[in-house]
Symmetry: C2
Subunit: 408 residues, 2 copies
């Protein structure tokens, strides 16, 4: 997996060329902050989506699955609200989601079946359709593109900053752009935990290829992050391809396109992990030397979910015992006598365990290495050649404060 150059860590535009965005504050958030965004293309797009695997699925998730099943080759846009998840809202919730899509479609001259819907926020509360309708009406009056991160701001809940990423990729027919934005914060876990992400591209991509590329990208990005192990009712990752660049992605270009899509998704995923509720830094865990990637992922994921590991990192405590113990209960048949644990990477890496045994190390240096952002943890299982990377964050008392006080 490629790493984004440092320049791409700066805020990127959230939308590919040719896509429009408009935002407003319609009052779904009591704070008066932005809570509604419409993203659309003048040309019909192909689309693909990946949704929460939670058995409890929010109304917009149910609706979008239906829309994409019917016509993933003819989509015009996505309407997104924050402040209300429209989850556990029964048949009325589904009707509200449908109506939300219809109103947004009408706003840009599209058919209802061409509009996708995303919601995030409080569960079990019906959408205030009066406010929402007025908000969608007001969207056209906003200056859509004045601030590139406005759509990314409008989807935030407990996020502390907007999350955007973009990449350009040169293909045979020309250069295409992939750009996206996301929201995360709590309930983050592999298999599409609480997060919304919308990626757009000006490439021409047929729906089947787009779906394949999106699944490959999610497997190396959103499915590799965790904040607290909770998984929400609303998780959605969507990609829209407008073809406005006139550059087509065929089978020959699919690998390059998928790699760029993975880069964008991985950047968004890391931004989500970095901005986990109460987090002070990004933690990158690489497990190497596994018999296969699934085992490497499972060990890395178990370490990344351990509250004891995450609190130790927060305290800059080089507590390798907790990391080794987590690897030990991951369910993978590791051989403790083979493992090697280091903090940091390359020449400055500090080794804590060698062949399963503690080695003397400079405690202050290890503590300082842990305190870096990102904090790098490397575990070699010594059993094979496979590896996997996961991203998480440290675990602070602030996480508890945020989540003990966030109202239902």
């Amino acid at each position: 997996m490629t790493t984004l150059p440092a320049s791409q860590k700066l805020a990127a535009r959230p939308l590919a060329p040719g896509f429009h965005g408009a935002t407003t504050a319609c009052g779904l958030k009591p704070s008066g902050a932005l809570d509604l965004a419409l993203v659309w293309s003048d040309r019909p797009c192909t689309a693909a989506g990946i949704f929460t695997t939670n058995r409890v699925q929010a109304a917009p998730v149910v609706l979008d699955r239906e829309v994409l099943t019917r016509s993933a080759g003819d989509i015009r846009g996505v309407i997104v609200n924050s402040g209300c998840a429209n989850a556990v809202t029964g048949p009325r919730g589904l009707e509200d989601a449908r109506r939300m899509g219809e109103l947004a479609a009408a706003r840009v001259g599209a058919a209802p079946a061409q509009m996708l819907v995303m919601s995030t926020g409080v569960i079990g509360v019906h959408l205030d359709m009066t406010k929402l309708a007025a908000g969608i009406e007001a969207l056209g009056r906003a200056d859509a593109q004045a601030e590139p991160d406005l759509v990314a701001r409008a989807v935030m809940t407990t996020d502390t900053r907007p999350k955007t990423a973009s990449a350009s990729v040169a293909l045979r027919g020309g250069t295409v752009t992939i750009a996206g934005f996301a929201k995360g914060a709590g309930m983050i876990h592999p298999n599409m935990a609480t997060m919304l992400a919308l990626v757009t591209t000006d490439a021409t991509v047929d729906p089947a290829l787009l779906d394949r590329a999106l699944r490959a990208a999610a497997d190396r990005s959103f499915n590799r992050i965790s904040v607290d192990g909770d998984m929400s009712t609303n998780d959605t990752l969507m990609v829209l391809a407008s073809g406005s660049s006139g550059v087509a992605v065929g089978e020959a270009e699919s690998a390059a396109f998928a790699a760029a899509l993975t880069d964008v998704c991985a950047s968004l995923a890391r931004q989500i992990a970095r901005d986990g509720e109460g987090a002070t830094r990004l933690v990158e865990i690489v497990v190497r030397g596994a018999r296969n990637e699934a085992e490497a992922h499972r060990v890395a994921d178990t370490i990344g979910l351990s509250p004891l590991v995450k609190t130790a990192i927060h305290g800059n405590d080089p507590n390798w015992g907790r990391i080794l113990a987590a690897a030990g209960y991951s369910g993978v048949e590791i051989d403790p006598a083979l493992v090697r644990l280091t903090f940091g990477d390359g020449a400055e890496a500090i080794t804590l365990l060698e062949r399963g045994m503690p080695v003397p190390f400079d405690r202050d240096a290890a503590s300082k290495m842990l305190a870096r952002d990102p904090s790098l943890i490397r575990l070699d299982l010594g059993q094979g050649d496979a590896s996997a990377t996961v991203w998480t964050c440290d675990f602070s008392a602030e996480y508890v404060r945020v989540n003990a006080e966030y109202t239902t």
Copy 2:
């Protein structure tokens, strides 16, 4: 599963009649607190043990498995230290554990193969054998039974209080007593997470029956609690049966004996959950209406492990959305349209969800119900007749403080 009468919530004696206990502070804990306990019987005992399933196993766990495999019918006692886990200590650690057992055996005139060993504390540090040997020597000079909870105190690490439980059961041949003590605090999760528990009885029980009864008891007690989902390298649950009462447990009495053993283990398990690091209350989650007990357990366990649920309980926030979402990602095919969620039990229960939909409820009353100790959460899946109970604790900022500062 039977519930212990209120009287048994009071501190019980940690040892069954006929067992001796001695404790000392040998300096393994820098604080100077008690850190060594010897429990022994003058008569040979049968014994059974259940150990961590972590792939990283501490030296005393390796040793005890060996001892029990060789002679579970001829055990004289257990030596326990806190302050050092003797885990990830290699061949030298195993030698140290063996020597620790030998010294303790010699102290009570037993053979080395008759002595079991338990350790808890910091991982990756060798036992200070000089201090330990002096401590074992000093044990005989302590007044063993002056304070019934001393052995329970000597095993504590971040526990805030000693944990003891006992029960008497009338069998055909007479009454037998079962008594136990445990330590818990962090790294608590089903499948024998970080905890040590030692149960003794004056009944005569053959090793195979004792092992069966212990496994049944663990399934309904220690395997039903969680604090943080972490699992340690040292978890051990052991039972010793001395037969000093002269009352034998045969096949006819095995159910009654196992039920009483389960009561003692469940009380200890609840005390461990209640005393989770930073916890302010016990949380009891009962999932009913499941298709089978395994599914009920899985749903209850997923809810009990959710940081979002546990922080909401800490904040007295009746956030049913997080409970439902956790049930939804448990991996069990629940039908959200069938679930019923209540806080509290019996006549004063407050219903939050009925047939999967929110129902109006008194928010203040629900908040007060959550604030009780224990906090009772009941979820009916509406799919069958099976049920399961798990115990956990609320999740406070204090948990983070404790674990960010506990030194390796």
